[in-house]
């Protein structure tokens, strides 16, 4: 088995990187589209300048746009890495590895964004108001579940190759 993995060196690594970036970007889009725009629970700087007036709403819209631009760059980088993986002859084209890496990327986004933006800086919260802390912890727990689940899936994919 180890010989197979050695022969594939670079393959799964590139696929993992590509999937991780794609997962991070798409996870960011889930946050931005679902929580910022459709449900309107929070915006990028809604705890700094609550969107209670039209100007404050537009101000937050600009920062939401910059956040979306960054997640777009992540997805573009992920597609580029996926292209690189596709051009390598030694690359292992495993759908399970890609999905595992994407799941880990989404989870990493929730964990890092939840820790920095919600818990440390407090620039916005998942669902401000009653039960704010529960929402923050739930968001982090969901991220942790995704990271652990993705990691286990990638281990299983490596073992079955």
């Amino acid at each position: 088995m180890s010989r197979v993995i050695e022969a594939c060196a670079g393959g799964p690594r590139t696929l993992l990187g590509a999937g991780f970036l794609l997962g991070t970007g798409l996870g960011g889009f889930v946050d931005g589209i679902l929580l910022h725009q459709i449900l309107q629970w929070h915006n990028m700087l809604s705890s700094v300048r609550p969107p209670t007036t039209l100007i404050a709403m537009k101000y937050n819209m600009v920062w939401d746009g910059l956040f979306h631009a960054t997640t777009w760059v992540m997805v573009a980088l992920g597609v580029w890495r996926l292209w690189v993986a596709g051009t390598r002859r030694e690359a292992v084209w495993s759908g399970r590895t890609l999905v595992a890496a994407m799941t880990m990327g989404w989870g990493a986004f929730n964990l890092v964004e939840g820790t920095i933006d919600h818990a440390l800086l407090g620039i916005h919260h998942v669902h401000p108001g009653a039960g704010e802390l529960a929402w923050v912890l739930g968001f982090l727990a969901f991220g942790a579940v995704l990271v652990v689940g993705g990691w286990r899936m990638s281990r299983r994919a490596t073992r079955t190759r």
């Binding site: 050695e6 700087l45 910059l66």
Partner: protein, 100 residues
Amino acid sequence: MRTASESPMKSCRTIPLARAKSPRLRRRALVFAASSCALVGSWAVAPPLALACPDCAASRAARSLVWADRFGVNLVVTLLPLVVIVTLATMLERQHGSST
């Protein structure tokens, strides 16, 4: 306010429908002309663009506020989680690569 000479309806009369020889083509040309005129007409009666966003007062005020209200700090704060994730991903990928 637009003057009568600028009316989009005037230009609609000049559409060369005669070129469409068959009745079917002529019908299609008429439908196309009517739709185009309706579209241009609705644009003609729309309020002047200066009053509408993106040039409205609220948009201008919001844009000024974005620059005036700690733009650099907010930009770093917005980008920070994703920069941290990319750094983590690069580190993990290198580690995974060296372990295989």
